[in-house]
């Protein structure tokens, strides 16, 4: 019975990982990845690993999305020429 919370979070992580893979657009994938980071932190907490959860929170909630979104922005800016950058 006390494992219910572990099962719930495990299933959520599995579903979120699937969603992160099927989203083909990198910007939308970054959104799902940041949710995956938060869910993984919750999973690590219920697996009694608060240190790892902190690590995942620090990296997954802000750093990785920022890196991916900056990359997306750079490539989008390359894609459209200067004139419509206004």
């Amino acid at each position: 019975m006390s494992d219910a919370v572990i099962v719930v979070v495990l299933l959520l992580v599995a579903a979120c990982a699937t969603a992160a893979v099927v989203q083909r657009d990198p910007a939308r994938q970054a959104l799902v990845l940041s949710v995956l980071g938060v869910l993984l932190a919750a999973l690590f907490t219920v697996l009694q690993a608060p240190d790892v959860g902190l690590s995942q929170l620090a990296v997954g909630s802000a750093l990785t999305p920022l890196l991916i979104m900056l990359c997306v922005r750079k490539i989008r800016r390359r894609g459209r020429p200067k004139e419509d950058a206004r």
Partner: protein, 245 residues
């Protein structure tokens, strides 16, 4: 061609999945009682007065392993700096100042110091409560970038002299190595935790060299993340390619 590739992938994936499931069936059951390494690590950590066993494993029992992790981190940041440097056919555009809604700007300005102090707290208490240099460093570095999110890139550049962070990254790596060598000079092994007294259990000064190595890692991670994000931000915001290239 594409269809063939998909079939190949399906066959390979099914094989991999079957092997993984077979391996899972043979693993010791989830939540089992037998953790010989874990029990010994906890004993060793308590013997050295380190309240957070995970920090003790990272910075004392397996400090040499952390040195390896740290050099991977250093090399990865170095690689990013080399890859994202300004090429000859690129020039810098001054980013335009951005008009951000007032509550968002104020939130960023107020939360920046709070997040920074929280990050430093996580680093400083790495050997006591959950946390440590790796986590706290990332938090402190992220806090700085609230200035970009809440205002514009120019504001961030004004409080972020990049050379200082590059230097402190290198200094932190050297500090870790020097702490390791200090124990060699004291007559024991490289990175052995015998240099300092172990202190009172569950206080800030407990754990011998663990807090110092922890702080070195915190400094290294924080400056590494700042340098990394600086180059990505330069690419995304400032650097433009020459027209007609």
């Amino acid at each position: 061609m594409n269809r063939l590739r998909l079939w190949l992938l399906a066959v390979g994936g099914a094989g991999l999945a079957a092997l993984l499931v077979a391996a899972c069936l043979d693993l010791p059951g989830f939540g089992g009682r037998r953790h010989p390494y874990g029990d010994r690590a906890v004993q060793a950590s308590l013997a050295r007065h380190t309240a957070n066993t995970i920090s003790s494993v990272n910075f004392d029992q397996r400090a040499y392993d952390t040195l390896g992790e740290m050099s991977i981190l250093f090399a990865a940041v170095l690689g990013c700096v080399v890859l994202l440097r300004q090429a000859r056919d690129e020039h810098r555009d001054r980013p335009e100042p951005a008009e951000v809604a007032r509550p968002v700007r104020r939130y960023a300005l107020l939360v920046l110091p709070v997040a920074l102090v929280t990050g430093l707290y996580v680093v400083a208490h790495g050997q006591l409560s959950p946390g440590g240099g790796f986590q706290g460093g990332v938090v402190a570095a992220t806090a700085l970038h609230l200035l970009y999110l809440g205002a514009d890139y120019g504001a961030l550049e004004r409080v972020r002299p990049l050379g200082v962070y590059e230097t402190s990254d290198a200094v932190a790596v050297c500090a870790y190595l020097v702490l390791g060598l200090a124990s060699v000079l004291a007559g024991t092994a490289f990175l052995a935790n015998t240099l300092l007294p172990y202190g009172t259990f569950n206080t800030l000064s407990s754990g011998g060299t663990v807090p110092l190595l922890n702080a070195a890692i915190g400094m290294e991670v924080a400056s590494a993340v700042v340098v990394l994000l600086a180059h990505f931000l330069d690419q995304a915001v400032e650097i433009e390619e020459e027209q007609g290239s």
